[in-house]
Symmetry: C2
């Protein structure tokens, strides 16, 4: 599936934290980059597309693929990891495209997004579109179907993300950019052999117990009815919503 996450508004990437401008230096610790140690506008100022995914190997392969697609000079095999000084994430830049890994799970993605948004801000990037690329399970879709996500839903199937900020629960919308979703769907119609739909993506905080997988180590005792619950958990809701689903973590 493809989950895109935001689109620039023909302007600089904004950060809403007023304290950032008062800082002498901003160290993007998990990228091993900083405003004093690196010339971020020179390194990243021309970025228009940011593509993120869990696996570092996969995002390297994606950077190499984009290198070929854009017919960039040089050897695609030699793309170099901008974050090689840290083992937290990997990051490759190919022309206007940034390809980077985010590890597994929302907290890992969250650290990456905070530092990425600050990076794009410091680099004075404009009109940036962000995508998440990833594989997932699906309900009601043929294997291999590409799902362009228009909203991400939580375990209760609501298009929201609950985050605890300083001990208080803050709820944020997870509805994504409709225009970008339609553009992606339009692109897919020009390709052969990639059945593509617009749908929802379910996100949980646990790959095994949070979803429908009965292969957990079983920290909880499975009751007799649980296996049935596992399969019905998603199907009942899917039928109620009559919508294609994909799942990612």
């Amino acid at each position: 599936c493809i989950c895109y996450s935001a689109k620039g508004n023909k302007q600089l990437v904004q950060v809403k934290n007023p304290y950032l401008d008062t800082m002498e230096e901003d160290i993007l610790y998990h990228f091993s980059l900083g405003t004093k140690t690196h010339n971020l506008p020179e390194m990243f100022g021309d970025i228009k597309f940011v593509c993120v995914g869990g696996s570092s190997n996969r995002m390297k392969a994606f950077a190499q693929f984009i290198h070929q697609e854009l017919e960039m000079p040089g050897n695609p095999e030699e793309v170099s990891d901008i974050c090689e000084a840290t083992d937290r994430y990997c990051m490759y830049k190919v022309g206007p495209v940034l390809s980077m890994s985010h590890g597994m799970g929302v907290p890992s993605i969250s650290i990456m997004l905070h530092e990425l948004i600050k990076l794009l801000h410091h680099a004075q990037c404009r009109d940036v579109v962000l995508f998440r690329l990833g594989t997932s399970g699906g309900v009601g879709l043929a294997p291999g179907t590409v799902v362009v996500t228009d909203k991400a839903v939580d375990y209760s199937f609501l298009a929201q993300f609950e985050q605890v900020v300083l001990g208080k629960v803050v709820t944020r919308s997870t509805e994504l950019d409709e225009e970008v979703a339609n553009e992606l769907l339009q692109c897919s119609s020009e390709l052969q052999n990639f059945p593509t739909v617009i749908g929802n993506t379910l996100c949980t905080h646990d790959f095994y117990e949070g979803k429908h997988r009965v292969l957990c180590s079983g920290c909880f005792r499975l009751e007799a009815s649980t296996r049935k619950s596992c399969s019905s958990y998603l199907l009942v809701r899917w039928e109620a919503l009559i919508n294609p689903w994909s799942f990612f973590l």
Copy 2:
């Protein structure tokens, strides 16, 4: 800080999921290991200690350190990654010690723990002690202090972990093994220059906004009072609890 997570009961590592025994094959996907493709009892049956931490580089360095400490034959530099076929985690085995990475955040740790517990079960390991090793911030402690965690608390400072299982919130205790904590404290008294205490560890799902860091990209608008809130969030509770704290993600 050191956070240990569980201690074996002089017996085989148990899994409570009854479906595992009915499966022809169990593939530990994120380790790139499986019950049919690998002889897990032969590879892992003698493990007594599992040490996990976020960074793959750090866990490799830890494996090399243990190699030297245990005076194992061979070159410590040549420890090899058992999970090298995947980029999700790294894993090193040095005698009875397994050293592996878990990435950042609870969901990433959760996938690793499910597959680790199943691995120890399939390998018929006995009397296994699990530790988490990591750095963290602290309140009320001198920098460099080692905290042996006796319980992990959530954002509301309760010793519990809320997990959503098939759409329902399940609450689990996070109180750890008192005996192991006291053994670790005893060990530290034999070392010089490592001030060590038993304390709590705060765990949140967000490195920036979930804790006290004002360096977030600011997805929420910081109110005039928020910076004060950031610093008081932890201190007020720390004073109320009169206890040393460390934080990890």
